[in-house]
Symmetry: C2
Subunit: 326 residues, 2 copies
């Protein structure tokens, strides 16, 4: 049966009434949604696209695609310290496959429900599989976390662990000796990254700069350094690694996995020394916590120091769509 744009939206993307948000003046179904932005709040806006064959493989489950399309956008809100509230979904599909749509929307709404995100609009079109989500969030005026506030002496932290998603991608691409438990862990991290929304909000008033690790720690910390006009030193031995990635690095010596692989969606942030005790308090309730990995310095550039005190140069840049295969 051919599905029209209208029946797709009604059948797969209408949220239950219990989820309704009083700040949504008008939701899906008109030419635009209408939102009420409470006084004293700034509106945070970000958008990210996932394209089949670039951001996920043709074998990725539709539920994972739906989840991740929202997760990477929530991660941008987390990196700003903003509370995500509303999303639009632009979905381009080769054909209207009902089972695909049911699984995709289940994955999308599993995460949307967790954070009470309201889907307020979108567009469904025919074409090569691609998903663009736009996320709208709120942050009290003046409290958003930016990339530009790091100063020499600030301590550098990351939430969670690094390199898991990169190792998951490697597992998909070539056979690796990995226990079933480790393989399951890294695939879960690749397919269902947990955006650090709660941690981002907790960092308001504490972090001097923040970013989410989408392109790799080196590249993303590099964005903080560039925006802040500073440099940094990080100690590889302090990087938080899961057992799977620690095993892999010990075995291969490939530090690029935690340093350069992207897609982890952890937060990397800087904290002035005098706020470190406030940070400990703020992170108490975080199941993932955060790890001190280095320090901001005045001299430009990123210096990675190995356990034996050697200076390591990570591969320049992170994941670059337009230079990766040209």
């Amino acid at each position: 049966m051919a599905l029209t744009e209208f029946s797709i939206i009604e059948r797969y993307f209408a949220q239950p009434a219990a989820m309704r948000d009083p700040d949504v003046v008008l939701g899906i179904g008109d030419d635009a949604a209408l939102l009420h932005v409470p006084e004293g709040m700034e509106l945070a806006v970000a958008t990210d696209t996932l394209v089949e064959g670039v951001h996920f493989s043709p074998h990725t489950k539709p539920g994972d695609i739906g989840y991740k399309a929202l997760a990477v956008n929530l991660s941008d809100m987390a990196a700003m310290g903003a509370e995500p509230r509303w999303a639009t979904l632009a979905l381009t599909l080769p054909q209207a496959d009902e089972s695909w749509l049911a699984d995709f929307s289940a994955g999308f709404f599993a995460l949307a429900s967790e954070y009470r995100i309201q889907l307020i609009g979108g567009d469904t079109t025919r074409g090569p599989l691609s998903i663009t989500v736009q996320i709208l969030g709120l942050v009290p005026a003046g409290t958003a976390l930016r990339r530009s506030g790091a100063h020499a002496g600030d301590l550098i932290y990351v939430t969670g662990t690094l390199g898991d998603a990169g190792l998951g991608l490697r597992v998909l691409q070539q056979p690796l000796e990995l226990s079933a438990q480790h393989a399951a862990h890294v695939m879960q991290r690749l397919n269902r990254p947990q955006p650090r929304v709660t941690e981002g909000i907790a960092l308001r008033g504490i972090a001097s700069a923040a970013i989410d690790v989408s392109d790799g720690l080196g590249a993303d910390l590099g964005h903080i350094l560039q925006a802040s006009g500073a440099g940094a030193r990080i100690n590889l031995s302090t990087l938080p690694l899961s057992a799977a990635v620690a095993d892999y690095v010990n075995h291969s010596g490939d530090w690029c996995m935690p340093l350069c692989a992207g897609d982890d969606y952890e937060l990397c942030f800087t904290v002035p020394a005098q706020k470190c005790s406030a940070l400990l308090d703020a992170m108490k309730s975080s199941p993932t916590g955060c790890t001190h990995i280095g320090v901001i310095e005045a001299a430009p550039g990123l210096r990675c120091i190995s356990a034996s005190g050697e200076l390591i140069t990570p591969r320049a840049g992170g994941y670059q769509h337009f230079s990766s295969d040209e």
Copy 2:
């Protein structure tokens, strides 16, 4: 030369400082943009995707694609009576072609500058050519034009003329006997539709319902009727037609062109009889004006009456991506 995502944004999508908007607290370059929404205003949000081969041909000029990707979104703001303010751009490209990007961004910003729209963020990815724009606009709380407010007795109007873009598409698809002047007119209307933003804003407090004609008059007026729980009668002889479309209809008898072809991005709206003189005043300064084409009736359904008084049934529905070729 390989272009990175960052250099693409800097080179082609950075707006001149003179365009800066005081309500943009933070623009392109962080994890999210930050906006100030003035008190008493509602935020209108819409998104539309254009896909190569579906919404435009591989031969469409990149400048026209850039223009139209924004125009169709501005048209959604027009249909709400909202003032468009900010846009994000998710651009998926097979490769970073500098000449294509220069032309595309010139087309996009030609229209953005006209309405002082600020580009506040986006995402560039590699993949089959596709453009998703999200538009954010402002409308004084409670004054937005919805689809659901039409009542029996309200008069139905459209701005501009109907069927031009459809005839332009037909010209691309098959040889037609059309004067050079008419061909140029319909191609301009197909490639560079003028969103009726000023007219939409002028209709606040006057129109009881509004929509933009993207899927065809029959389908889009049908959305108003469905949302309002009403029916309508329109007189074909009063449909506003350009000389090109009038010639075509006279010659072919094909009323489907002005009735069912989409992509005109005119406004279709309803006005209570007692507000018709206010409408005349409101439209005085509009170069395109509006035309009275029919009346809302209590009985459901859309009745199209020919010049000789016959009841004509237009093709059901408008342009449906997922059913058009299945």
